[in-house]
Symmetry: C2
Subunit: 377 residues, 2 copies
């Protein structure tokens, strides 16, 4: 577990240290757009949870995109809804339907019964983390055992989990969860506090099991009104971050917070204690960099739909994202770090060869930007 | 048609003139949350287009919310998809399914065949506008024939129409329309140009028929990436606005542009030529006011889901929106106008009595703010 990393560019960028290229990974990089993923899923009875709860399969699919593309980080294959499932809400994934909870949390009794789950019920996640970390071991140039790339663990934000827990699944208007928020804020705060405590211990156990960075997905923070976002989403994300183990074996564990649709609140999010703030494609990275200054690194932000254009367009759009961020510069608080990513999960219909074009373009063009900068100074 | 208005507070606020209270109307105020709407729809064979294409029914449902609540404006009952329907795309609304086009525009041939439709095919819309204007006539305090409140006409933005035209209906990821945008921007620009020309003439004919203000709904502008929004949505909205008749019978016709999810681009949108910019609930109205300054009035921005809370919470949240905007002040370019609205259409499950509480709170609290301001100066 203490083996060095052959490629630590992702962790360095998160911590705003210089890197030879801009590291890149893709949200949902282990997924249905890959034929090898579909084959493993077939073996698991074509069930998402069948994959996620089987350590061998979870390890296999986590590594698949790394074998295909020179990505700079691995991310645990799992789902944010493992935590409410462990609370006893009864998660299932209907065919092509998205997640469903058998026991949504909609009244005072259900809210009162919520508890931080026993982490033993999430053992399969921590076992997968440990297994993936082991599987990432290889030999470095000196023949030492080393990690190929770092492993990212993750969880949903307290608010995003609450959306699913109250709605009982996906929603287009968030009517039930927002009704509770506006009509019974006391109940909503209680759910969020339990979720924050649960997510903290869940992420800490992932870190203990081998995750080298963690990401909090606030996928639905952007559906909240200004004011409500700060009180019902960001405040609880901040509590999660405050509860995290930030160092392990002498290395800092970077924390990434991603609020989809959160561009208007970037300054506030940058103050939540995270090392990295993820932004979606609606954000101008140059403006974002100016707004957050030296406080955090940024992650993002290509529109995943760019990957449906021909490879030369994919490359050009990736270059445009890198150009908007601009060449890395040293500031008072360290370098201004950029982790390249999509602004949301990769679409299941994406042609894998376009992902190759993307990763290649990010690595090549970010090296060019660094050379240009070096020759200027 | 030249009758004065008994209540012109909406038009005055749009044009940044002083008003005795903050005017309020609600997107989709004539709709399924009203039992009287459902009754009329029943008469029309329970069909949305049956309502929209029948002048008598369209007039009836447009007036229903005004008879129930002291709203400060009426809005034409219709749909943004009337325009692509008139282009021959074959609009239908399946039961509980949302809109569908029988002939989506997905290839070069379909794009090449697109034309600005003959406005005769939209005669039913213009007839409804004229009929509603007549129906709004009543007697003012002096016994003169007068309009109760002004009538707003509307259309979809070129980009928002293109989303439906390419996707063939609603979409969760906009994959087809974005693939065209990134892979064949030439085709996308051609669709947008036809749409811009069509929307301009459509809105101008609504104005000629009696609409006293017009609103452009860019409902899906917010799904675009930064950069793409400016080129593929805002540029074409600007062309529409530039083509509009802005004065009729000595009165200015205000133009409202609403981009849902467009808060990050507020300054750019405020420069598109509109008199009023609509904002959704993610925007802080105090910041928005500071960002757009004296250039435009603002419309918004209560989260429609607030209406599911008890009436006292509805009132408190409405007051909070008014307080964020702050008391009206005179600036260099006129007063800073605010039109109260929701940040999106009213939900079909909304209790109508909560709408009463909302309208009452907006009128009462905005008068209090004006009195406070008057006593301070």
């Amino acid at each position: 577990m203490t083996a060095p990393l052959i490629n630590d560019s992702f962790l360095r960028a998160c911590l705003r240290q210089p890197t030879p290229h801009t590291p890149v990974w893709l949200m949902r990089q282990a997924g249905r757009y890959l034929p090898e993923y579909r084959a493993t899923r077939e073996k698991a009875g074509n069930s998402f949870m069948g994959l996620a709860t089987n350590v061998q399969y979870a390890t296999e699919v986590t590594l698949q995109p790394l074998d295909r593309f020179p990505l700079d980080a691995a991310i645990l294959f799992s789902d944010i809804l493992t935590v409410p499932d462990a609370m006893g809400l009864g998660l299932s994934f209907g065919a092509g339907e998205g997640p469903r909870f058998a026991h949504p949390v909609r009244d005072e009794a259900a809210v009162g019964a919520l508890r931080v789950p026993d982490m033993q019920r999430l053992r399969y996640v921590f076992d997968a983390v440990a297994s993936i970390r082991r599987a990432l071991l290889t030999r470095d140039a000196q023949g030492r055992e080393a990690g190929r790339v770092p492993l990212i663990g993750f969880a949903g934000s307290p608010w995003t989990l609450a959306c699913y827990m109250v709605e009982g699944g996906s929603s287009s208007d968030y009517r039930l969860v927002k009704t509770m928020l506006y009509a019974r804020p006391d109940l909503m705060h209680r759910i969020l506090q339990v979720n924050a405590d649960a997510v903290s211990v869940y992420l800490n156990t992932q870190i203990e099991s081998g995750a080298q960075a963690v990401m909090i997905f606030d996928s639905w923070g952007g559906v909240l009104a200004d004011g409500a976002f700060q009180r019902f989403s960001l405040d609880y994300t901040r509590r999660v971050v405050a509860g995290l183990k930030r160092e392990k074996e002498g290395r800092r564990i970077p924390v990434i917070v991603f609020t989809k649709g959160g561009g208007l609140w970037l300054e506030a999010i940058a103050g939540c204690g995270a090392d990295v703030v993820g932004v979606d494609w609606t954000v101008d990275l140059a403006q974002a960099r100016a707004r957050v200054g030296q406080r955090v690194a940024l992650q993002g932000n290509l529109d995943p739909m760019v990957l449906f254009a021909p490879p030369e367009v994919v490359a050009r759009e990736a270059q445009a994202v890198l150009d908007r961020f601009g060449p890395p510069q040293r500031g008072d608080g360290g370098w201004e770090g950029h982790v390249f990513n999509l602004g949301h999960g990769i679409n299941q219909h994406t042609p894998p060869e376009h992902v190759s074009a993307l990763v290649e373009a990010v690595h090549a063009h970010s090296r060019v930007l660094r050379q240009q900068r070096a020759s200027e100074s």
